[in-house]
Amino acid sequence: MYTEKVMDHFAHPRNMGEVEGANGVGMVGNAKCGDIMQMFLKVNDDGIIEDVGFKTFGCGAAVATSSMATELIKGKSIDEALKLTNSAVVEALEGLPPAKLHCSVLAEEAVRAAIDNYYARKEGKAEECNTVTTGHEEEKPAED
């Protein structure tokens, strides 16, 4: 069902866990749908993402897309990270089953939420974590 790359990122997640001194934190999804992703960014004065970490409640694809998203933005500038798309995550994982594509969308949204939190904090008005409750009510695949 999953590609080797997905299984590799699931079994050996990269950048898992909170980041000390993070200055951009975002959380998306909801437990009702079965996926929550939390993204931690440590952005330096030059606007480069020095360190990144994630925590995820969800299926194998949710863990793998979070892990891959952190790899794709680590060491990049904020502007580059904002360009991260869900399809780039899927491509880097060498594909996802159709029913799991929403996980890659969530990974993209988690990065955005963390960056929003970074900007908000710079303006001195943000809470510790930017929590965006998103649901993904998709059309159910045909039974059988």
Partner: protein, 388 residues
């Protein structure tokens, strides 16, 4: 790495004795049971013998008239619901079932609703049970069928079948039970339990896949679901799956003949898992009834983590298990059974089902108990919902 199969509610390994019984019917005795010649009649005899084995295992009176072979449990369920609805619609268009049935029953009921039938879905309690009183209260003059599963495929809960059977018999309403998970694992007697119709599937008791049977009490008329031939007394067209039917017969004979040895052994292993898992892992909840459950079923919700992740991690450690997680079913909703029992969505997503078989050993159970706590710890460390 040690390989442990704990998904026997999904399917079981074919018993070697069953395979031996089946083999000649692929290559040597390959005649069509409808043919008049000797090879055909030998195949016919084998099918008739299997029918006797099924009737005997269920306590049915008349094998020839009461046992119909089908392509599996789902087909048997479809045949009962659609057939009774069609044949007895003049009496009424009301059917009673529960909200934890297998989809073979639930989706067929939904089809019937679209065709103008009315279905009452009795709600279960926190353990996944209904009472006979609920059935009695729901029966109306236009009720034509009550369909309640014997043992639940996800949480293992056993329904009070003899009591429901007695209520239905007293009120004169047909009673069907989907006993796919129960046959071969707990004692069943259709006469003593007042069961009018019963569905079963061979591969759930170490028989082959793709073959099942339906018991229909003499006097009840179920029209054919598949037409085109006179096989199975005009009830199921198509050349009989002779090796499969022979395998079903042998498997049911072996399984029902060894319940007294296997059930206590499996119950002991089941209860070891049920006792030890909460001791080793904090914040878990047993799903299903603590004692009124199938001998091989263990189902836990493990808080703060998601079911598919647990399965994948177990699989990486050589353990095959199952989950009521949405992610394993291709939809975003977790198990309808767990939701019906009142579990919140987030907890229903984190369920783990371990189902034991005849071949499960104490060492298998110990291996699961060794591996599972570390997996849960690791996934919880990854979870934004978990705070130690």
């Amino acid at each position: 790495m040690r390989q442990v199969y704990m998904d026997n509610a999904a399917t079981t390994a074919l018993n070697k004795e069953v395979l031996e019984a089946m083999t000649p019917y692929f290559t040597e005795i390959y005649g069509n049971p409808s043919s008049l010649h000797t090879p055909g009649q030998l195949a016919h005899k084998a099918v008739a013998n299997a029918r006797q084995q099924v009737a005997k295992a269920l306590g049915a009176e008349d094998a020839e008239r009461e046992i119909i072979f089908t392509g599996g449990g789902s087909e048997a369920d479809n045949m009962v619901l659609l057939g009774i609805a069609q044949r007895y619609q003049k009496k009424g268009k009301h059917i009673i079932t529960t909200n934890v049935e297998h989809h073979a029953v639930l989706y067929t009921c939904q089809r019937l609703e679209k065709m103008g039938y009315e279905v009452t879905y009795l709600p279960v309690d926190e353990y996944g049970r209904i009472t006979a009183q609920q059935v009695a209260d729901a029966i109306r003059p236009d009720t034509i069928l009550v369909s309640v599963m014997f043992g639940n495929n996800e949480v293992g809960t056993l329904m009070p079948i003899p009591e429901i059977g007695a209520v239905c018999r007293e009120k004169g309403v047909f009673f069907h039970t989907d006993a796919v998970q129960a046959v071969g694992h707990v004692h069943i007697n259709v006469k003593e339990m007042n069961i009018d119709m019963l569905s079963l599937s061979a591969h759930k008791f170490h028989g082959p896949k793709g073959v099942g049977a339906l018991y229909v009490r003499k006097g009840i008329v179920i029209p054919a679901l598949i037409t085109g031939g006179a096989q199975e007394h005009n009830k199921r067209a198509g050349t009989e799956n002779v090796p499969g039917i022979v395998g079903l017969g042998k498997a049911i004979e072996l399984a029902c003949g060894s319940i007294d040895e296997n059930a206590p052994r499996m119950t002991r292993l089941r209860d070891k898992l049920i006792t030890r898992i909460p001791e080793l892992i904090p914040e878990v909840k047993l799903n299903g009834h603590p004692t009124e459950r199938l001998p091989g079923n263990v189902n836990f919700s493990i808080k703060y983590i998601e079911g598919e992740s647990i399965l994948l991690m177990l699989d990486l450690n050589g353990i095959a298990a199952s989950s009521g997680s949405a992610c394993t079913s291709g939809s975003l909703d977790p198990s309808h059974v767990l939701l019906a029992m009142g579990l919140p969505h987030e907890i229903a997503h984190g369920s783990l089902r371990l189902t034991l078989g005849d071949d499960t050993t104490e060492e298998d159970v110990d291996y699961v108990l060794e591996v599972l706590p570390a997996i849960v710890k690791r996934l919880r460390a990854m979870s934004p919902l978990y705070h130690e």
